[in-house]
């Protein structure tokens, strides 16, 4: 007797979208602006991701890095690290790729209304947070203090430099950037991003923290926030695991009882903490 396939979130058939613009952010990182208007626009929640299919190369999960208020353009920021992401980064204007999604959970921007928002990003982790930052700044009056803390490897590796400058220039948003290593002439902070978290002005009971970056960075950042009395249920992380289907069917991204693609990628520390403590997961 045939078994009915489980229902899935998002389409299992890729939509063909055309590249409208390519921005080279860093030597190995590009942002693709895909024209979603012919497909009727692309609505998503901040923190969700898509499966991007480059025909002949393969499919990879990539977080959406654009503004959710602009559904006509679907924006993805990609680092060239593998067999699929390398040719994705070589795409030119007019090129096409397949898009499945959006998948996964989102940053709790609606649940955090009226609260102070602390964004902590490391490296490419600023990309999945960018839609949430855009949303919060668009609806600025709905939130308390807004702080963006960002860590990068070197000054040359700072992502979205123009955005960081623009956000800092608003005066209603605290922005601090630190780098692990700096050459001559750099006048900013040097040190790991947790140093910024230790020094940040925050009211622990009013704060909702959203963290994205390498998992080790997020673990230590979460612990720094806990030491500052931010409740575990108010700390959210975006986890990354090897994903294939994007819809909780294949099990590649299983994290104990949770699937990173379906139950995540955004999960609270209160749920993730025992899972991330198991090295085998």
């Amino acid at each position: 007797m045939p078994v009915a396939a489980p229902s899935v979130t998002g389409s299992m058939v890729p939509r063909l979208l055309r590249v409208a613009r390519v921005v080279r952010e860093l030597p190995d990182t590009v942002t693709l602006h895909l024209d979603a208007d012919p497909a009727g626009g692309f609505r998503f929640a901040p923190g969700q991701f898509n499966m991007l299919y480059l025909f002949g190369a393969g499919e990879v999960p990539i977080s959406i890095s654009g503004d959710p208020a602009s559904p006509g353009l679907l924006v993805h920021t990609i680092r060239a690290v593998g067999a699929v992401t390398r040719p994705l980064c070589d795409l030119k204007r007019g090129g096409t790729l397949g898009v499945r999604g959006p998948f996964g959970t989102s940053w709790p921007v609606e649940g955090a209304l009226g609260r102070d928002i602390l964004f902590v990003a490391g490296g490419l982790g600023l990309a999945p947070l960018r839609p949430a930052i855009a949303h919060v700044l668009t609806h600025r009056a709905d939130y308390g203090r807004v702080t963006v803390l960002y860590g990068a490897r070197t000054p040359e590796d700072i992502l979205f430099r123009k955005d960081l400058t623009r956000w800092r220039g608003r005066l209603d948003c605290e922005v601090e950037v630190t780098v692990d290593r700096a050459g001559d002439g750099f006048r900013g902070h040097v040190g790991f991003v947790t140093a910024l978290v230790e020094r940040a002005e925050l009211d622990p009971q009013r704060t909702v923290a959203m963290l994205c970056g390498p998992e080790v960075m997020m673990r230590f950042t979460a612990r720094t926030l806990l030491a500052r009395a931010v409740p575990p249920s108010a700390i959210f992380l975006s986890v990354e695991r090897s994903m294939k289907c994007g819809a909780g069917l294949c099990g590649h991204c299983q994290l104990g009882p949770a699937f990173a693609c379906k139950d995540g990628p955004v999960l609270p520390w209160s749920r993730l903490s025992p899972l991330l403590a198991v090295p085998e997961l």
Partner: protein, 159 residues
């Protein structure tokens, strides 16, 4: 003195320290300002001062001949600077030598700090075991956190 005592008590390193202990520290402390580029201490010196940073940024640097200094880390408001003063007057574990300062500390911008005389502080700690215990514990905590951060930096996680 009363103002200095109140200000000292507000620094994160001394927050919640018993009042009588903060009063003891006032005699060792003074307000210090540094202009951009000023050195708080230099590699190789005997570290005689303990700094509690209030405003501004201090870069910990290693200098190279013929090149600009290499910044290891920056410290800011709430941080402490200078550790080896605590070893003065006692034999160290490495052949009795007290370790000298291992980095340059340079003000990046206008820096305001409490500077506490190391010898004075050490004497107060030696004469009051409870104060000695509390300050050593707080200092060790700061060193531990900084060490953990340096380890994370060494991992080069963002690659």
């Amino acid at each position: 003195m009363e103002t200095l005592e109140r200000s000292l008590r507000e620094h994160p390193f001394l927050r919640d320290l018993p009042e009588e202990h903060v009063r003891l520290l006032v005699g060792c402390a003074k307000n210090t300002r540094f202009a951009p580029g000023d050195l708080l201490f230099r590699e190789g010196e005997d570290e005689a001062t303990f700094y509690l940073l209030r405003t501004g940024t201090v870069a910990l640097e290693v200098h190279h001949p013929g090149r600009a200094a290499h910044c290891i880390e920056t410290l800011g408001p709430g941080d402490v600077l200078g550790v080896s003063w605590i070893f003065g007057g006692t034999p160290g574990t490495a052949g009795g030598q007290v370790p000298p300062v291992t980095l340059d500390a340079r003000a990046r911008d206008n820096v305001l700090a409490f500077s506490l005389d190391g010898a004075c502080l050490r004497e107060k700690m030696d004469n009051d075991d409870r104060l000695g215990h509390l300050l050593t514990r707080r200092l060790l905590e700061r060193v531990y956190v900084r060490l953990a951060r340096m380890r994370l930096t060494a991992l080069d996680l963002y690659g």
